[in-house]
Symmetry: C2
Subunit: 262 residues, 2 copies
Protein backbone atom coordinates (compact mmCIF):
# COMPACT_ATOMS: atom_id res chain seq x y z
CA UNK A 1 0.00 0.00 0.00
CA UNK A 2 1.37 3.38 -1.00
CA UNK A 3 1.00 6.27 1.50
CA UNK A 4 -0.81 8.19 -1.26
CA UNK A 5 -3.77 5.86 -0.76
CA UNK A 6 -3.48 5.35 2.99
CA UNK A 7 -5.53 6.96 5.74
CA UNK A 8 -3.62 9.28 8.11
CA UNK A 9 -3.48 6.66 10.86
CA UNK A 10 -1.94 4.12 8.49
CA UNK A 11 0.62 6.65 7.29
CA UNK A 12 1.61 7.41 10.89
CA UNK A 13 1.84 3.71 11.76
CA UNK A 14 4.11 3.02 8.77
CA UNK A 15 6.31 5.92 9.80
CA UNK A 16 6.34 4.68 13.41
CA UNK A 17 7.46 1.23 12.25
CA UNK A 18 10.31 2.82 10.28
CA UNK A 19 8.81 1.92 6.90
CA UNK A 20 8.59 5.50 5.61
CA UNK A 21 11.46 7.94 6.21
CA UNK A 22 10.83 10.26 3.27
CA UNK A 23 9.00 13.60 2.87
CA UNK A 24 5.25 13.42 3.41
CA UNK A 25 4.09 15.52 0.41
CA UNK A 26 1.35 13.49 -1.28
CA UNK A 27 0.75 11.20 1.73
CA UNK A 28 -2.91 10.85 2.79
CA UNK A 29 -4.12 13.47 0.32
CA UNK A 30 -7.06 15.57 1.53
CA UNK A 31 -5.78 15.57 5.12
CA UNK A 32 -4.03 18.42 6.89
CA UNK A 33 -0.30 18.14 7.51
CA UNK A 34 1.44 20.13 10.22
CA UNK A 35 4.72 21.75 11.13
CA UNK A 36 6.17 20.76 14.51
CA UNK A 37 7.98 22.91 17.07
CA UNK A 38 8.84 21.44 20.49
CA UNK A 39 10.07 23.71 23.29
CA UNK A 40 10.58 23.40 27.05
CA UNK A 41 7.63 24.54 29.17
CA UNK A 42 9.44 27.63 30.47
CA UNK A 43 9.51 29.07 26.93
CA UNK A 44 6.02 27.86 25.97
CA UNK A 45 4.04 30.87 27.23
CA UNK A 46 6.03 33.39 25.23
CA UNK A 47 5.92 31.17 22.13
CA UNK A 48 2.17 30.58 22.49
CA UNK A 49 1.67 34.34 22.83
CA UNK A 50 3.87 34.89 19.75
CA UNK A 51 1.68 32.55 17.70
CA UNK A 52 -1.45 34.35 18.93
CA UNK A 53 -0.02 37.74 17.96
CA UNK A 54 1.14 36.48 14.57
CA UNK A 55 -1.60 34.13 13.36
CA UNK A 56 -0.81 34.42 9.66
CA UNK A 57 2.76 33.03 9.84
CA UNK A 58 1.94 30.93 12.94
CA UNK A 59 -1.48 29.30 12.50
CA UNK A 60 -1.68 27.08 15.55
CA UNK A 61 -3.54 23.78 15.17
CA UNK A 62 -2.72 22.23 18.54
CA UNK A 63 -0.60 22.58 21.69
CA UNK A 64 0.00 19.43 23.71
CA UNK A 65 -0.12 19.28 27.47
CA UNK A 66 3.41 19.55 28.89
CA UNK A 67 5.01 16.10 28.88
CA UNK A 68 2.35 14.50 26.69
CA UNK A 69 3.41 13.45 23.18
CA UNK A 70 -0.22 12.91 22.10
CA UNK A 71 -1.92 15.54 19.94
CA UNK A 72 -5.31 14.60 21.36
CA UNK A 73 -7.35 17.03 19.29
CA UNK A 74 -5.95 16.66 15.76
CA UNK A 75 -4.85 13.01 15.93
CA UNK A 76 -5.99 11.11 19.03
CA UNK A 77 -3.73 8.14 19.75
CA UNK A 78 -0.83 9.46 17.70
CA UNK A 79 2.63 9.90 19.20
CA UNK A 80 4.63 12.96 18.19
CA UNK A 81 7.86 11.23 19.32
CA UNK A 82 7.65 8.56 16.64
CA UNK A 83 5.08 9.52 14.01
CA UNK A 84 7.11 11.97 11.91
CA UNK A 85 9.65 10.57 9.44
CA UNK A 86 12.51 12.83 10.50
CA UNK A 87 13.24 15.40 13.20
CA UNK A 88 15.85 18.10 13.68
CA UNK A 89 17.23 18.67 17.16
CA UNK A 90 18.61 22.13 17.90
CA UNK A 91 20.68 22.87 20.99
CA UNK A 92 21.30 26.52 21.84
CA UNK A 93 20.15 27.46 18.32
CA UNK A 94 22.52 25.09 16.52
CA UNK A 95 21.43 21.99 14.57
CA UNK A 96 22.83 19.18 16.73
CA UNK A 97 21.40 16.09 15.04
CA UNK A 98 18.75 14.61 12.76
CA UNK A 99 16.85 11.67 14.25
CA UNK A 100 13.93 9.42 13.28
CA UNK A 101 12.40 9.21 16.72
CA UNK A 102 12.41 11.27 19.90
CA UNK A 103 11.95 8.51 22.47
CA UNK A 104 15.42 8.95 24.03
CA UNK A 105 15.09 12.75 24.05
CA UNK A 106 11.57 13.15 25.42
CA UNK A 107 11.13 14.95 28.75
CA UNK A 108 8.23 15.77 31.06
CA UNK A 109 8.58 19.50 30.48
CA UNK A 110 8.34 19.47 26.68
CA UNK A 111 5.42 21.14 24.90
CA UNK A 112 4.68 20.40 21.23
CA UNK A 113 3.18 23.02 18.92
CA UNK A 114 1.58 21.90 15.63
CA UNK A 115 1.22 24.65 13.04
CA UNK A 116 -0.73 24.57 9.78
CA UNK A 117 1.19 23.82 6.59
CA UNK A 118 0.63 25.24 3.12
CA UNK A 119 -0.05 21.82 1.53
CA UNK A 120 -3.73 22.34 2.40
CA UNK A 121 -4.10 25.67 0.68
CA UNK A 122 -2.04 24.57 -2.33
CA UNK A 123 -4.49 21.69 -2.83
CA UNK A 124 -7.32 24.25 -2.69
CA UNK A 125 -5.54 26.46 -5.26
CA UNK A 126 -5.09 23.52 -7.65
CA UNK A 127 -8.77 22.54 -7.29
CA UNK A 128 -9.69 26.14 -8.16
CA UNK A 129 -7.47 25.93 -11.27
CA UNK A 130 -4.94 28.41 -9.93
CA UNK A 131 -1.46 27.28 -11.05
CA UNK A 132 1.17 26.55 -8.38
CA UNK A 133 4.46 27.13 -10.16
CA UNK A 134 6.90 25.37 -7.81
CA UNK A 135 4.79 22.21 -7.99
CA UNK A 136 4.74 22.45 -11.81
CA UNK A 137 8.53 22.81 -11.79
CA UNK A 138 9.15 20.16 -9.12
CA UNK A 139 10.86 22.61 -6.79
CA UNK A 140 10.53 23.81 -3.21
CA UNK A 141 8.51 27.02 -2.82
CA UNK A 142 10.68 30.20 -2.81
CA UNK A 143 10.75 31.94 0.58
CA UNK A 144 12.01 35.41 1.50
CA UNK A 145 12.90 37.19 4.74
CA UNK A 146 10.96 40.48 4.64
CA UNK A 147 11.52 43.87 6.27
CA UNK A 148 8.24 43.49 8.19
CA UNK A 149 8.70 42.72 11.88
CA UNK A 150 6.41 40.19 13.53
CA UNK A 151 4.65 41.39 16.68
CA UNK A 152 7.13 40.41 19.43
CA UNK A 153 6.11 38.38 22.48
CA UNK A 154 8.46 38.03 25.43
CA UNK A 155 11.70 36.49 24.18
CA UNK A 156 10.41 35.88 20.68
CA UNK A 157 10.80 38.44 17.88
CA UNK A 158 11.92 38.55 14.27
CA UNK A 159 11.00 39.36 10.70
CA UNK A 160 8.08 37.86 8.79
CA UNK A 161 9.11 35.22 6.26
CA UNK A 162 6.88 34.89 3.18
CA UNK A 163 6.46 32.33 0.43
CA UNK A 164 5.86 33.51 -3.14
CA UNK A 165 3.72 32.06 -5.92
CA UNK A 166 3.54 33.82 -9.30
CA UNK A 167 -0.12 34.10 -10.36
CA UNK A 168 -1.64 35.15 -13.72
CA UNK A 169 -3.35 38.54 -13.21
CA UNK A 170 -6.84 37.27 -13.97
CA UNK A 171 -6.46 34.62 -11.22
CA UNK A 172 -5.04 36.77 -8.40
CA UNK A 173 -8.48 37.51 -6.93
CA UNK A 174 -9.42 33.84 -7.02
CA UNK A 175 -6.12 32.85 -5.37
CA UNK A 176 -6.79 35.39 -2.58
CA UNK A 177 -10.38 34.23 -2.06
CA UNK A 178 -9.56 30.50 -2.08
CA UNK A 179 -6.79 30.84 0.49
CA UNK A 180 -8.77 33.29 2.68
CA UNK A 181 -11.08 30.36 3.46
CA UNK A 182 -8.18 28.64 5.26
CA UNK A 183 -6.80 30.94 7.99
CA UNK A 184 -5.53 27.86 9.85
CA UNK A 185 -2.99 27.27 7.05
CA UNK A 186 -1.76 30.88 6.59
CA UNK A 187 -4.97 32.23 5.01
CA UNK A 188 -5.13 35.06 2.46
CA UNK A 189 -2.01 36.61 0.95
CA UNK A 190 -0.24 39.23 3.07
CA UNK A 191 0.96 41.16 0.01
CA UNK A 192 0.26 41.19 -3.74
CA UNK A 193 2.86 42.55 -6.20
CA UNK A 194 5.64 45.03 -5.30
CA UNK A 195 8.30 42.75 -3.78
CA UNK A 196 10.49 45.82 -3.12
CA UNK A 197 7.94 47.06 -0.55
CA UNK A 198 8.74 43.93 1.48
CA UNK A 199 12.48 44.57 1.13
CA UNK A 200 12.87 41.77 -1.45
CA UNK A 201 15.47 42.84 -4.03
CA UNK A 202 15.59 39.84 -6.32
CA UNK A 203 12.82 37.24 -6.63
CA UNK A 204 15.40 35.01 -8.33
CA UNK A 205 17.39 34.74 -5.10
CA UNK A 206 15.12 33.48 -2.33
CA UNK A 207 16.45 33.17 1.23
CA UNK A 208 15.06 29.60 1.51
CA UNK A 209 13.75 27.13 -1.06
CA UNK A 210 14.23 27.39 -4.81
CA UNK A 211 13.66 30.16 -7.36
CA UNK A 212 10.75 29.60 -9.77
CA UNK A 213 9.89 30.99 -13.19
CA UNK A 214 7.83 34.19 -13.14
CA UNK A 215 6.23 34.58 -16.58
CA UNK A 216 5.61 37.93 -18.28
CA UNK A 217 2.61 39.65 -16.71
CA UNK A 218 2.36 37.29 -13.76
CA UNK A 219 1.99 38.90 -10.33
CA UNK A 220 4.13 37.73 -7.39
CA UNK A 221 1.73 36.91 -4.57
CA UNK A 222 3.11 36.54 -1.04
CA UNK A 223 1.74 34.43 1.79
CA UNK A 224 2.96 34.32 5.40
CA UNK A 225 5.24 31.31 5.76
CA UNK A 226 5.59 28.61 8.39
CA UNK A 227 9.36 29.06 8.39
CA UNK A 228 8.73 32.23 10.45
CA UNK A 229 7.99 30.53 13.80
CA UNK A 230 10.89 28.10 13.44
CA UNK A 231 13.30 30.90 12.59
CA UNK A 232 12.04 32.99 15.49
CA UNK A 233 12.20 30.09 17.96
CA UNK A 234 15.70 29.24 16.85
CA UNK A 235 16.90 32.83 17.19
CA UNK A 236 16.26 32.66 20.96
CA UNK A 237 18.81 29.79 21.06
CA UNK A 238 16.85 27.72 23.57
CA UNK A 239 18.82 24.94 25.30
CA UNK A 240 16.59 22.47 23.39
CA UNK A 241 14.25 22.92 20.44
CA UNK A 242 13.01 20.13 18.21
CA UNK A 243 11.32 20.56 14.82
CA UNK A 244 10.30 18.35 11.92
CA UNK A 245 12.94 18.01 9.21
CA UNK A 246 11.90 20.14 6.20
CA UNK A 247 9.12 18.40 4.25
CA UNK A 248 8.84 15.60 6.83
CA UNK A 249 5.54 16.72 8.35
CA UNK A 250 3.03 15.36 10.84
CA UNK A 251 -0.07 13.93 9.11
CA UNK A 252 -3.21 14.79 11.12
CA UNK A 253 -6.70 13.27 11.07
CA UNK A 254 -8.21 16.63 10.07
CA UNK A 255 -9.64 16.87 6.60
CA UNK A 256 -8.52 19.93 4.63
CA UNK A 257 -12.11 21.13 4.34
CA UNK A 258 -12.62 20.99 8.12
CA UNK A 259 -10.34 24.04 8.34
CA UNK A 260 -12.44 26.13 5.96
CA UNK A 261 -14.06 29.04 7.79
CA UNK A 262 -16.97 29.44 5.41
CA UNK B 1 -21.28 64.91 22.47
CA UNK B 2 -23.02 61.59 22.97
CA UNK B 3 -20.88 58.43 22.97
CA UNK B 4 -23.06 57.14 20.16
CA UNK B 5 -21.38 59.68 17.87
CA UNK B 6 -17.90 59.59 19.38
CA UNK B 7 -14.82 57.82 18.08
CA UNK B 8 -13.47 54.98 20.26
CA UNK B 9 -10.64 57.14 21.63
CA UNK B 10 -13.11 59.84 22.72
CA UNK B 11 -15.36 57.25 24.39
CA UNK B 12 -12.37 55.86 26.31
CA UNK B 13 -11.25 59.36 27.35
CA UNK B 14 -14.73 60.23 28.65
CA UNK B 15 -14.79 56.99 30.59
CA UNK B 16 -11.29 57.68 31.95
CA UNK B 17 -12.37 61.13 33.13
CA UNK B 18 -15.32 59.56 34.97
CA UNK B 19 -17.90 61.09 32.62
CA UNK B 20 -19.43 57.78 31.49
CA UNK B 21 -20.06 55.00 34.01
CA UNK B 22 -22.87 53.22 32.18
CA UNK B 23 -22.99 50.18 29.87
CA UNK B 24 -21.24 50.67 26.53
CA UNK B 25 -23.88 49.18 24.19
CA UNK B 26 -24.34 51.70 21.39
CA UNK B 27 -21.09 53.58 22.11
CA UNK B 28 -18.86 54.15 19.05
CA UNK B 29 -21.06 52.07 16.75
CA UNK B 30 -19.18 50.11 14.07
CA UNK B 31 -16.23 49.46 16.39
CA UNK B 32 -15.44 46.21 18.17
CA UNK B 33 -16.06 46.02 21.91
CA UNK B 34 -14.29 43.48 24.09
CA UNK B 35 -14.70 41.40 27.23
CA UNK B 36 -11.88 41.72 29.78
CA UNK B 37 -10.30 39.04 31.95
CA UNK B 38 -7.22 39.89 34.04
CA UNK B 39 -5.23 37.14 35.75
CA UNK B 40 -1.83 36.82 37.44
CA UNK B 41 1.00 35.71 35.15
CA UNK B 42 1.30 32.29 36.82
CA UNK B 43 -2.20 31.38 35.57
CA UNK B 44 -1.83 33.09 32.18
CA UNK B 45 -0.32 30.16 30.25
CA UNK B 46 -3.12 27.76 31.15
CA UNK B 47 -5.76 30.41 30.40
CA UNK B 48 -4.13 31.32 27.07
CA UNK B 49 -4.05 27.63 26.16
CA UNK B 50 -7.71 27.32 27.19
CA UNK B 51 -8.67 30.14 24.83
CA UNK B 52 -6.69 28.52 22.01
CA UNK B 53 -8.41 25.18 22.56
CA UNK B 54 -11.86 26.79 22.78
CA UNK B 55 -11.82 29.55 20.17
CA UNK B 56 -15.60 29.73 19.73
CA UNK B 57 -16.45 30.71 23.32
CA UNK B 58 -13.05 32.42 23.83
CA UNK B 59 -12.16 34.44 20.72
CA UNK B 60 -9.00 36.18 21.82
CA UNK B 61 -8.39 39.68 20.43
CA UNK B 62 -5.34 40.61 22.47
CA UNK B 63 -3.13 39.59 25.38
CA UNK B 64 -1.10 42.33 27.04
CA UNK B 65 2.50 41.94 28.15
CA UNK B 66 2.65 41.08 31.86
CA UNK B 67 2.47 44.30 33.85
CA UNK B 68 1.48 46.50 30.91
CA UNK B 69 -2.06 47.94 30.96
CA UNK B 70 -1.84 49.01 27.29
CA UNK B 71 -3.58 46.90 24.63
CA UNK B 72 -1.03 48.00 22.01
CA UNK B 73 -2.58 46.11 19.11
CA UNK B 74 -6.30 46.83 19.37
CA UNK B 75 -6.12 50.30 21.00
CA UNK B 76 -2.63 51.83 21.17
CA UNK B 77 -2.39 54.42 23.94
CA UNK B 78 -5.40 53.11 25.85
CA UNK B 79 -5.16 52.08 29.51
CA UNK B 80 -7.08 49.03 30.62
CA UNK B 81 -6.91 50.20 34.26
CA UNK B 82 -9.10 53.26 33.62
CA UNK B 83 -10.81 52.97 30.24
CA UNK B 84 -13.70 50.67 31.13
CA UNK B 85 -16.70 52.14 32.96
CA UNK B 86 -16.89 49.47 35.64
CA UNK B 87 -14.87 46.45 36.80
CA UNK B 88 -15.57 43.47 39.00
CA UNK B 89 -12.81 42.24 41.29
CA UNK B 90 -12.94 38.58 42.31
CA UNK B 91 -10.79 37.19 45.11
CA UNK B 92 -10.57 33.40 45.43
CA UNK B 93 -13.60 33.12 43.11
CA UNK B 94 -15.83 35.47 45.12
CA UNK B 95 -16.97 38.91 43.94
CA UNK B 96 -15.12 41.22 46.34
CA UNK B 97 -15.91 44.66 44.93
CA UNK B 98 -17.00 46.72 41.93
CA UNK B 99 -14.67 49.59 41.05
CA UNK B 100 -14.39 52.25 38.34
CA UNK B 101 -10.62 52.12 38.00
CA UNK B 102 -7.88 49.61 38.71
CA UNK B 103 -5.00 51.99 39.48
CA UNK B 104 -4.74 50.98 43.17
CA UNK B 105 -5.01 47.26 42.30
CA UNK B 106 -2.60 47.02 39.37
CA UNK B 107 0.46 44.80 39.72
CA UNK B 108 3.50 43.98 37.61
CA UNK B 109 2.45 40.36 37.22
CA UNK B 110 -1.05 40.96 35.81
CA UNK B 111 -1.93 39.90 32.26
CA UNK B 112 -5.05 41.25 30.53
CA UNK B 113 -7.01 39.18 28.01
CA UNK B 114 -9.44 40.93 25.65
CA UNK B 115 -12.06 38.64 24.11
CA UNK B 116 -14.47 39.41 21.27
CA UNK B 117 -18.02 40.40 22.19
CA UNK B 118 -21.24 39.58 20.37
CA UNK B 119 -22.15 43.25 19.73
CA UNK B 120 -20.18 42.99 16.46
CA UNK B 121 -22.04 40.00 15.13
CA UNK B 122 -25.42 41.32 16.27
CA UNK B 123 -24.77 44.47 14.24
CA UNK B 124 -23.99 42.23 11.25
CA UNK B 125 -27.22 40.24 11.79
CA UNK B 126 -29.29 43.43 11.90
CA UNK B 127 -27.66 44.72 8.69
CA UNK B 128 -28.54 41.40 7.04
CA UNK B 129 -32.17 41.83 8.19
CA UNK B 130 -32.00 38.94 10.62
CA UNK B 131 -34.07 39.86 13.71
CA UNK B 132 -32.36 39.91 17.11
CA UNK B 133 -35.18 39.28 19.57
CA UNK B 134 -33.58 40.40 22.84
CA UNK B 135 -32.71 43.76 21.26
CA UNK B 136 -36.32 44.09 19.99
CA UNK B 137 -37.58 43.33 23.49
CA UNK B 138 -34.99 45.49 25.30
CA UNK B 139 -33.62 42.56 27.28
CA UNK B 140 -30.29 40.89 27.91
CA UNK B 141 -29.57 37.87 25.67
CA UNK B 142 -30.63 34.54 27.25
CA UNK B 143 -27.66 32.30 28.12
CA UNK B 144 -27.60 28.62 29.09
CA UNK B 145 -25.01 26.32 30.66
CA UNK B 146 -24.81 23.29 28.34
CA UNK B 147 -23.84 19.67 28.88
CA UNK B 148 -20.90 20.10 26.44
CA UNK B 149 -17.51 20.26 28.14
CA UNK B 150 -14.95 22.74 26.87
CA UNK B 151 -11.53 21.29 26.01
CA UNK B 152 -9.66 21.58 29.33
CA UNK B 153 -6.25 23.24 29.62
CA UNK B 154 -4.21 22.89 32.80
CA UNK B 155 -6.28 24.26 35.68
CA UNK B 156 -9.10 25.52 33.46
CA UNK B 157 -12.11 23.37 32.59
CA UNK B 158 -15.88 23.67 32.52
CA UNK B 159 -19.02 23.49 30.41
CA UNK B 160 -19.70 25.55 27.30
CA UNK B 161 -22.14 28.42 27.87
CA UNK B 162 -24.27 29.42 24.86
CA UNK B 163 -26.43 32.39 23.99
CA UNK B 164 -29.72 31.81 22.13
CA UNK B 165 -31.47 33.87 19.48
CA UNK B 166 -34.77 32.63 17.99
CA UNK B 167 -34.60 32.91 14.18
CA UNK B 168 -37.36 32.51 11.56
CA UNK B 169 -36.70 29.30 9.61
CA UNK B 170 -36.12 31.02 6.29
CA UNK B 171 -33.38 33.17 7.87
CA UNK B 172 -31.42 30.50 9.78
CA UNK B 173 -29.00 29.91 6.90
CA UNK B 174 -28.38 33.64 6.54
CA UNK B 175 -27.81 34.01 10.29
CA UNK B 176 -25.24 31.19 10.14
CA UNK B 177 -23.45 32.63 7.10
CA UNK B 178 -23.35 36.21 8.41
CA UNK B 179 -21.86 35.22 11.77
CA UNK B 180 -19.42 32.69 10.24
CA UNK B 181 -17.62 35.70 8.73
CA UNK B 182 -16.69 36.81 12.27
CA UNK B 183 -14.83 34.01 14.07
CA UNK B 184 -13.17 36.65 16.30
CA UNK B 185 -16.57 37.36 17.91
CA UNK B 186 -17.80 33.75 18.38
CA UNK B 187 -18.38 32.98 14.68
CA UNK B 188 -21.02 30.62 13.33
CA UNK B 189 -23.63 28.97 15.57
CA UNK B 190 -22.48 25.90 17.51
CA UNK B 191 -25.96 24.34 17.41
CA UNK B 192 -29.26 24.92 15.58
CA UNK B 193 -32.55 23.68 17.06
CA UNK B 194 -32.89 20.81 19.59
CA UNK B 195 -32.08 22.57 22.90
CA UNK B 196 -32.52 19.20 24.71
CA UNK B 197 -29.40 17.89 22.93
CA UNK B 198 -27.43 20.58 24.78
CA UNK B 199 -29.04 19.62 28.08
CA UNK B 200 -31.30 22.70 28.05
CA UNK B 201 -34.69 21.75 29.54
CA UNK B 202 -36.56 25.03 29.36
CA UNK B 203 -35.67 27.92 27.05
CA UNK B 204 -37.88 30.10 29.26
CA UNK B 205 -35.47 29.69 32.18
CA UNK B 206 -31.98 30.78 31.08
CA UNK B 207 -29.04 30.42 33.48
CA UNK B 208 -27.97 34.03 32.79
CA UNK B 209 -29.67 36.99 31.11
CA UNK B 210 -33.38 37.21 30.36
CA UNK B 211 -35.88 34.90 28.63
CA UNK B 212 -37.13 36.12 25.23
CA UNK B 213 -40.21 35.34 23.16
CA UNK B 214 -39.83 32.40 20.76
CA UNK B 215 -42.58 32.68 18.15
CA UNK B 216 -44.33 29.70 16.57
CA UNK B 217 -42.05 28.09 13.96
CA UNK B 218 -38.94 30.00 14.99
CA UNK B 219 -35.77 27.97 15.47
CA UNK B 220 -33.59 28.46 18.58
CA UNK B 221 -30.06 29.11 17.32
CA UNK B 222 -27.16 28.81 19.77
CA UNK B 223 -23.84 30.62 19.67
CA UNK B 224 -20.83 30.07 21.96
CA UNK B 225 -20.93 32.74 24.65
CA UNK B 226 -18.28 34.99 26.18
CA UNK B 227 -19.55 34.13 29.65
CA UNK B 228 -17.75 30.79 29.24
CA UNK B 229 -14.18 32.05 29.84
CA UNK B 230 -15.21 34.19 32.81
CA UNK B 231 -17.11 31.29 34.40
CA UNK B 232 -14.18 28.96 33.80
CA UNK B 233 -11.60 31.43 35.14
CA UNK B 234 -13.72 32.06 38.21
CA UNK B 235 -14.16 28.33 38.90
CA UNK B 236 -10.40 28.02 39.50
CA UNK B 237 -10.84 30.56 42.35
CA UNK B 238 -7.62 32.44 41.60
CA UNK B 239 -6.35 34.71 44.38
CA UNK B 240 -7.15 37.65 42.09
CA UNK B 241 -9.20 37.88 38.90
CA UNK B 242 -10.59 41.10 37.44
CA UNK B 243 -13.27 41.34 34.73
CA UNK B 244 -15.44 44.06 33.19
CA UNK B 245 -18.81 44.50 34.89
CA UNK B 246 -21.51 42.97 32.64
CA UNK B 247 -22.24 45.26 29.70
CA UNK B 248 -19.42 47.67 30.65
CA UNK B 249 -17.04 46.68 27.87
CA UNK B 250 -13.74 47.91 26.48
CA UNK B 251 -14.18 49.89 23.23
CA UNK B 252 -11.36 49.07 20.78
CA UNK B 253 -10.10 50.94 17.71
CA UNK B 254 -10.90 47.93 15.48
CA UNK B 255 -13.73 48.37 13.03
CA UNK B 256 -16.25 45.52 13.02
CA UNK B 257 -15.48 44.74 9.38
CA UNK B 258 -11.76 44.39 10.10
CA UNK B 259 -12.61 41.12 11.88
CA UNK B 260 -14.40 39.62 8.86
CA UNK B 261 -12.47 36.67 7.48
CA UNK B 262 -13.78 36.93 3.94
Amino acid sequence: MSPANAAPKEVRERIRRGEWARPTAGCAPGYVQANLVILPRDLAYDFLLFTHRNPKPCPLLEVTDAGSPEPARVAPGADLRTDLPKYRVYRHGVLAEEVTDLLPLWRDDLVAFLLGCSFTFEAALLKAEVPVRHLEEGRNVPMYITNLPCAPAGLFAGPLVVSMRPIPPEKVARAAAVTARFPAVHGAPVHVGAPEALGIRDLGRPDFGDPVTVRRGEVPVFWACGVTPQAVAMAVKPPLMIAHAPGHMFVTDLRDESLAVI
